[in-house]
């Protein structure tokens, strides 16, 4: 395209690669900011008595603004290719589920978004991952600053051996936040539906909690610095069904404030909680990506149907 890249160019490019999805707002970045601010305010209101307006849900499922766009993403671990030409638009305030058999590159895709793969010496990334109108693999992007905008929850709960308060405040602390930390901690714990269970023991160790509570603590930790995207790598696979269903409920609420991308092995879970589903199959290829209902009821590809119905994988 145009050799001198300007933000407008990038937006136009995006419109093209979106496959003709109309952009409602040219000034995307300002819209983002407004949305983020609104999100902050809304977050305070989250309480059992406060009912979320129905239309909010509709806005979420119908959102047309992309949060993250990948184009021709190839990832290699040494000589082994983990992702093969993945192009995908992830929409704001969506819950996007990534499903597929083991070793198909779902987790790699997730960790490519917030550049956690940089930690792996042998990992090499080709192609673009656009977030906030910028390719995150550009030379002038600081991966540390990027990760402060993208929270992540891991497969096994991994709270720090610190107090519950310090766990949640960790992100704020490292980002040098000098406002009211306790208020932010409370807000994050409420958003993670953990506040009522731990409000009297904020100074006890995060490791004293049960597995499900620990995972919600990790979610609270991830959202405390108010990121824009929350990545979840099989967040319920190490938990019992009751704890898992609590997390699932939580994910639905989280999508009102954040863009959620979740890797899961559990087909029912993907069907229950996600708005869009991406199916990766062996070789790191994105085989199909569409509305969740479409994927689970009437997939285009036979292989996807076989995988979902359990005939393969």
């Amino acid at each position: 395209m145009n050799p001198t890249e300007t933000p407008t160019d990038r937006t136009m490019k995006r419109v093209e690669t979106d496959g003709g999805v109309p952009m409602e707002d040219d000034q995307e970045s300002t819209a983002d900011a407004a949305k983020a601010d609104g999100g902050t305010e809304k977050l305070v209101d989250v309480s059992p008595s406060h009912s979320v307006p129905d239309d909010d849900d509709d806005v979420r499922t119908r959102s047309t603004e992309t949060a993250i766009t990948t184009r021709d993403l190839n990832v290699y671990y040494g000589d082994e290719q983990a992702l093969d030409g993945v192009s995908m638009d992830i929409y704001e305030h969506d819950v996007t589920a990534l499903i597929g058999p083991s070793g198909c590159g779902k987790s790699t895709f997730l960790r490519t978004i917030n550049r956690m793969n940089d930690m792996i010496d042998v990992c090499r990334v080709e192609g673009d991952v656009e977030f906030g109108g910028k390719n995150v693999y550009d030379d002038d992007v600081d991966p540390v600053a990027l990760r402060r905008k993208i929270g992540m929850v891991f497969q096994a709960p991994n709270p720090f051996p610190k107090s519950i308060r310090d766990n949640v405040a960790y992100g704020l602390k490292i980002q040098g936040y000098d406002g009211d930390v306790d208020a932010r901690v409370e807000k994050a714990l409420k958003s993670a539906a953990l506040w009522d269970e731990v409000k009297d023991q904020l100074d006890s160790s995060g490791l004293d909690l049960s597995g499900g509570q620990q995972q919600r603590l990790c979610i609270a930790r991830a959202i405390a610095p108010d990121p824009e995207v929350v990545l979840m790598d099989e967040p319920t696979s190490a938990l019992d069904p009751v704890a898992a269903s609590k997390i699932e409920d939580l994910i639905d609420d989280l999508a009102e404030e954040y863009t959620v991308i979740i890797v899961t092995h559990n087909m029912q879970q993907a069907a229950r909680i996600s708005d869009r589903t991406a199916v990766f199959l062996t070789g790191g290829r994105l085989v199909e990506y569409d509305d969740t209902t479409k994927i689970f009821e009437d997939p285009e590809e036979q292989r996807v149907e076989d995988y979902i119905t359990g005939k393969f994988g």
Binding site: D121, L146, M152, F154, F160, P161, G171, I174, R221
Partner: protein, 545 residues
């Protein structure tokens, strides 16, 4: 199916024996090896302890008195803890061991205050550090965002305060020492030693109990314990300053531990154990003295610990060598530990494992493991060659001894620190990085706090190895027998193992048996207490993780 029905009449194993003979022999052989090791250790320890303490030289009535007042209550109480309240037993051993350990550390500090840094000098030094710390904090408040400037200030201000610029600008410390009014020794220590300890204790109690009053009480008890020497000290014949140096840390540590036990409300009765032991010893000694029972004629007594070696065995002591060993330990702690821990952090957290650099790192890693096995005499030659012949530092000084033995334990420090760092689960690092933490923030906030206990354990064990080393000390010319305590790190010094070696070559029999055994027991007490502290620390962290 068919075969199962056939054999169902005979139960498995009742017709043919499963061979277990070799397994049994193997198991008993292993047990034999274990028992042999323990037996040899025990025999050695008893033998040395018997030579050093000579309990059988005491009046049988004295032994009986002590048996009734000390041994019997201790055995009864231990039995009670064992049968009724295991957690109280744990509390009991910690409550007894903690003051002993802190007393040893305080003993080291006492030697320092007596020979190296006088209380007034310490007061001036502490004041300079305090001023420097205040300036650094104030600067970071005022200029919050100037990261580079803050780094410079953090490095330069303390340097100016403590060292100054030689021949150009006197340091704050020098200026303060010129001050015409300086507090006397006791008052200096109250301000610069007891008060900081009390502040730490009070702050800690205040943090865990979330009450200002409790913190103030804890700090108050610590200060009172230190100052009690002014009144009580003369009764026991202890100088108030000495009392202060020993009592402040002991009382402070006990306050913290008692608060911890009472707060958790588990095994509180264990706190009675050290009281029973101390009271038993006190009552027993008093009773024996009033009744006129003669105690054992031990080699290891206060006279041995406080006097220098002599030509007559009865007058010989280990004091100057003890001072030397403490100085050497301090040099090791200040030199080998930072270097070793720094190297380990780099190798574990920063060094790349791939590419050409990775190969070099791997080579270094293998060599560090090899260095841990190099004979100590070789390190002695190395120290002689580098520190004395090449750099020209004085023969047999505490600095050279500390550097040489520090080199010896450097690989051990590195390896044990690496293991402690490796024990931090990688998922925690991942969590930190995913939160947008930099490498430094992750190391500072996640890796180091979690591995700190493991690092301490490894380094304490390494230090234990270091103070017993003799061969390197021979090579670098540490004095065989010292009668004058070193008065600085740069003056010639003795060391406990070197002193023990020289006693072993004396012609007089009492030296080779009695005095030598007393020296060995002194060394062992220091070493075993350090190891016990390391093990307690390790067990505690294993339980919390």
């Amino acid at each position: 199916m068919a075969s199962e029905t056939q054999t169902s009449t005979t139960w498995f194993g009742s017709t043919e024996e499963v061979g277990r003979l070799r397994g049994r022999v193997f198991k008993w052989t292993c047990l034999g090896a274990t028992v042999l090791t323990l037996f040899l250790m025990l025999v050695f320890l008893l033998y040395v302890a018997n030579d050093a303490l000579r309990p059988l030289s005491a009046d049988p009535s004295w032994l009986a008195t002590m048996g009734v007042t000390v041994v019997l209550p201790v055995v009864l109480l231990a039995g009670y803890y064992y049968r009724r309240d295991r957690s109280a037993g744990e509390v009991a051993y910690t409550a007894l061991g903690l003051p002993i350990f802190v007393a040893l550390v305080s003993g080291g500090l006492w030697l320092l205050f007596r020979h190296i840094v006088s209380p007034q000098e310490w007061f001036v030094l502490a004041a300079s550090i305090l001023v420097a710390g205040g300036l650094v904090t104030a600067h970071s408040r005022v200029r919050h965002d100037a990261a580079v400037e803050r780094l410079v200030v953090t490095v330069v201000v303390p340097l100016l305060a403590v060292v100054g610029v030689p021949t150009v600008l006197p340091s704050l410390r020098d200026l303060l020492s010129l001050s015409p009014v300086l507090p006397n020794a006791l008052f200096s220590l109250v301000i610069a030693f007891t008060l900081p300890i009390a502040a730490v204790v009070g702050w800690r109690v205040r943090a865990v109990r979330d009450a200002d009053r409790d913190g103030a009480i804890a700090a108050g008890i610590t200060v009172a314990g230190g100052l009690a020497g002014v009144v009580v000290g003369p009764v026991f014949g202890v100088h108030p300053t000495s009392w202060l140096v020993f009592a402040s840390p002991i009382v402070g540590a006990l306050v913290l531990y008692v608060e911890h036990v009472v707060r958790n409300d588990e095994g509180v009765s264990g706190l009675a154990f050290p009281i029973v032991v101390a009271a038993g010893i006190f009552v027993g000694l008093t009773a024996a003295q009033t009744l006129g029972f003669a105690g054992p004629d031990t080699w290891l007594d206060m006279q041995f610990l406080t006097s220098s070696t002599s030509t007559t065995p009865a007058d010989a002591g280990i004091y100057p060598a003890l001072v030397g060993s403490v100085l050497i330990m301090i040099v090791i702690v200040l030199s080998a530990f930072p270097v070793g821990i720094g190297a380990a952090v780099y190798l574990e957290e920063y060094a790349r494992s791939q590419g050409r650099l990775g190969t070099v790192i791997e080579l270094i890693q293998v060599n560090i493991s090899n260095l841990a096995g190099v004979p100590s005499i070789v390190y002695g030659v190395l120290g002689l060659a580098i520190f004395i012949n090449l750099i020209g530092m004085g023969r047999g000084t505490a600095v050279v001894a500390g550097f040489t033995v520090g080199l010896l334990i450097l690989p051990i420090v590195i390896i044990s620190t690496q293991e402690a760092i490796r024990a931090v689960p990688d998922s925690r690092r991942q969590a930190s990085y995913a939160m947008g933490a930099t490498k430094w923030q992750t190391v500072r906030n996640v890796v180091l706090p979690e591995s700190l206990a493991g690092i301490f354990t490894g380094t304490i064990l390494a230090l234990g190895r270091a103070i017993g080393e003799t061969a390197p000390l021979l090579m670098i010319g540490v004095s065989a027998s010292v009668r004058v305590s070193p008065d600085s790190f740069l003056s010639r010094t003795g060391a406990m193992p070197r002193q023990i070696l020289s006693w072993s070559t004396q012609i007089t029999t009492e030296f080779r048996y009695g005095v030598l055994a007393a020296g060995v027991v002194t060394l062992l007490v220091v070493l075993l207490t350090m190891n016990a502290a390391a093990i307690v620390l390790r067990n505690r962290t294993q339980r919390t993780q």
